[in-house]
């Protein structure tokens, strides 16, 4: 937990972690015995998976258990399916956890190798949408919503995390190829590489305009990058994609470059493992490796009451057990000591205004939170700018009364989407 400086005025200055001078390569952690993949489940309750327990799978194989409707996962190892179990994600998202036992004898699936001669968006989205970094390939190629600018994020969106910074500096060649391919496949007119402001030199040759971003939280969040770097404001309730901008992790671009180059879909994910002392280490591990295996590798012990966070301290999500796997978009894993973690309270708002001053979206948080506490989500959206929120969490971070403001906001947004969907279906 960070304390305010003696002169408590002004906004908290939270610097992003930087890789400068951190030339060490990620530690490779092998999966221990089995990996688990989270496959989206379709809405039908009794959907039957296409594969049964015991079926053999190969490295790089595309696994679409429920047909094309629910997407697919890429098998990162060779082995056999050991179990298929339901898994409940945040906001009611339903998954099937596919556990695969690892066979030391690795054989590669050759379907992509055969298909890659055809460099098209269809090939890429049929094989690479679940690659490490989770490239948003399915959003591309939509004539109604053309994406003109590709934004390669060589920065991370949370504190203490330096995964994407590392990938940008260590895998420049793959990214260069990836950018080239994406331009060809999806017709991007402009490519921008985002780096920390002090590190803009050295990436010009990769094939895009390099632009620096302020290195204090939360300036790397897409909506703020749009406003501060590109001078384009995303209207509340819309996305960067609606303005033709496609934000992609550097790692996702590298995955595409490497896949087309070698004919093999990358199956390892780079992530920052943050121990209880706040020190981050880079790790490269097979997608699907249980977090517990990575932690054990570094001798990080979990105690009763600790928090295990997927992602960073400001925007991550807490995991229920160390058995939860590293997913293609898990940029960080953080272990937080029970004594140092923030806990909410039911204390009322005292109207100190700290949240209002800290909000990068200029939301009247003190009034918004009154509406959210009362469950008046629609009023909150119409009168108090609920949808302008970029979900940086600084309001909760500074709240004197420790009101879980960000939790209220995400809940409100979720409830609004849910009721709108219900309205669309039923009305």
């Amino acid at each position: 937990m960070l304390k305010k400086p003696v002169s408590g005025r002004g906004k908290p200055c939270l610097e992003y972690a930087r890789t400068t001078g951190r030339l060490d390569l990620p530690v490779h952690v092998p999966p221990a015995g089995s990996v688990t993949l989270l496959h989206r489940r379709p809405a039908e309750l009794n959907a039957i998976p296409a594969l049964k327990v015991g079926a053999a799978v190969k490295t790089g194989q595309r696994l679409a258990l429920y047909g094309d409707a629910a997407g697919y996962v890429t098998v990162p190892v060779t082995g056999a399916i050991a179990s298929l179990a339901p898994f409940e994600g945040d906001f009611g998202r339903r998954y099937t956890a596919v556990t695969i036992t690892v066979d030391p004898q690795e054989t590669f699936d050759e379907q992509f190798a055969a298909a890659r001669s055809e460099v098209t968006l269809a090939t890429a989205s049929a094989f690479l949408a679940a690659a490490p970094g989770l490239p948003p390939l399915q959003e591309m190629g939509n004539a109604d919503r053309p994406l003109k600018t590709l934004v390669v994020c060589g920065i991370d969106d949370d504190l203490l995390v330096f995964t994407q910074q590392h990938v940008l500096s260590a895998r420049a060649r793959d990214i260069e190829k990836g950018i080239h391919l994406l331009k060809e496949m999806a017709g991007f007119e402009d490519v921008v590489i985002l780096t920390p402001r002090e590190a803009v030199q050295g990436y010009g040759r990769i094939g895009g305009r390099v632009m620096g971003v302020a290195t204090t939280y939360p300036h790397t969040l897409p909506e703020l990058v749009m406003a501060e770097v590109f001078g384009r404001v995303v209207p509340a309730g819309r996305t960067c994609g609606d303005l033709g901008f496609c934000f992609m992790r550097a790692e996702a671009v590298a995955s595409i470059g490497a896949a087309f180059d070698t004919g093999r879909i990358p199956v390892t994910k780079v992530l920052t493992v943050i121990a209880k002392d706040g020190v981050g280490r880079l790790v490269e591990t097979t997608v699907g490796t249980p977090i517990g295996v990575v932690l054990t590798h570094f001798g990080i012990a979990l105690e009763e009451g600790d928090r295990l966070v997927l992602g960073g301290p400001m925007r991550g999500t807490a995991a229920y057990s160390p058995g939860q796997p590293v997913q293609p978009d898990t940029d960080a894993v953080m272990v937080l000591d029970a004594a140092r973690a923030a806990d909410g309270s039911d204390y009322p708002c005292i109207n100190c205004g700290d949240c209002v001053r800290v909000c990068p979206a200029r939301i009247q948080v003190n009034l918004l939170v009154c509406y959210l506490e009362a469950g008046k989500y629609q009023d909150a959206e119409e009168a108090y700018d609920l949808l302008s929120c970029v979900e940086c969490g600084l309001c909760s971070y500074v709240c004197v009364s420790k009101i879980p403001i960000l939790q209220y906001i995400t809940l409100a947004k979720y409830e609004l989407t849910r009721t709108r969907q219900a309205e669309g279906t039923n009305a």
Partner: protein, 319 residues
């Protein structure tokens, strides 16, 4: 998994900057301490009696009310103690015990708890209490009468009453240095201008109070008093005099800045403070009371919800 350690699952963010309501209360008590301690030094044991009784009774009223209303105990956050101290600082050192206890009842129960407790009061509880007492027991609250038996080594005239009754000639003997160093009579914690300025500056630096409110309040007082003084120097005192006497400083730093009843946006804070300063001088110079700070604070508390409608356009709002 039976022998697995249980993790806690909570929502982001997982960090907090460590600020607490109790800390804020402690800071305000610290900021008010120089002026309060000087008051005890100047007025002696009676002042200590009033301050101690005010703080203790405020805390007891808070405790009693939360017990009766079955609300969670909120004495520990220190805000009741802050209200008690600030209320005591506005009283004359000779205030009777029943004035103090009634005043803290009004402040805690009528001024705050019946609205829902901390953060819910539309008016500053201290201003509500002093405002009602000024209307109810004028003689108890009249500093010239209340402090008549206290020995001072300077003319014991309440400067604001003197200037109201006799014009600026009556306050010729009072210098700025006298006002800054507490050589004037008034409320226990309101005479030591320098102490209040130091305490207020400390709170502004720590970010506990919002500097925009204090500064614009003082600016409002200064500009309005300056214009009056310009129009009729024989009748109306100078800006400096108005800044350093009566409840101006304690009002600017401790009353107008109370969290719940003040705005949080930049321009609203400036308007809020400035209006408070202007009304203060209007009441002093052409109104019915020698000092207008508490009523000015109540009036600006009233317009606060309207003022906070003036706010910057949120990110992504086109219309």
């Amino acid at each position: 998994m039976p022998n697995q350690k249980k993790l806690i699952v909570s929502h982001a963010p997982f960090w907090h900057n460590g600020s607490r309501v109790t800390d804020r209360s402690r800071q305000v008590l610290l900021g008010a301490a120089p002026a309060a301690l000087f008051g005890i030094y100047q007025f002696g044991a009676p002042a200590l009696r009033v301050l101690a009784l005010a703080m203790a009774s405020a805390v007891l009223w808070e405790f009693a009310f939360t017990r009766v209303a079955r609300r969670p105990a909120s004495v520990g956050d220190g805000t009741a103690a802050v209200i008690g101290l600030l209320f005591g600082m506005l009283l004359p050192a000779s205030a009777a015990w029943w004035v103090v206890v009634t005043g803290t009842f009004i402040a805690i129960v009528v001024g705050r708890q019946i609205y829902g407790g901390i953060g819910a009061n539309p008016f500053n509880p201290v201003a509500v209490a002093v405002g009602i007492l000024l209307l109810s027991w004028q003689r108890q609250m009249d500093f010239d009468i209340a402090l008549v038996s206290f020995p001072f080594d300077f003319p014991a005239l309440y400067p604001l009453s003197a200037v109201k009754a006799f014009g600026t000639q009556a306050i010729r003997h009072i210098s700025m240095a006298d006002l800054l160093l507490g050589r004037q009579i008034g409320g226990i914690g309101t005479t030591f201008g320098l102490g209040l300025i130091v305490g207020g500056a400390y709170l502004m630096l720590r970010g506990v109070i919002r500097w925009e409110i204090s500064v614009s309040f003082l600016a409002g007082v200064a500009v309005t008093a300056f214009i009056f003084n310009l129009a009729n120097p024989a009748k109306y005192a100078t800006a400096g005099f108005h800044l350093l006497t009566g409840f101006t400083l304690i009002g600017a730093f401790f009353l107008a800045t109370e969290d719940s009843s003040s705005p949080v946006n930049f321009f609203p804070m400036l308007i809020y403070g400035a209006v408070g300063g202007i009304i203060t001088v209007l009441i002093r110079n052409i109104g019915a009371f020698p000092d207008g700070v508490v009523y000015a604070v109540l009036v600006i508390n009233l317009i606060q919800p309207l003022l906070d409608k003036i706010r910057p356009k949120a990110l992504g709002k086109v219309a």
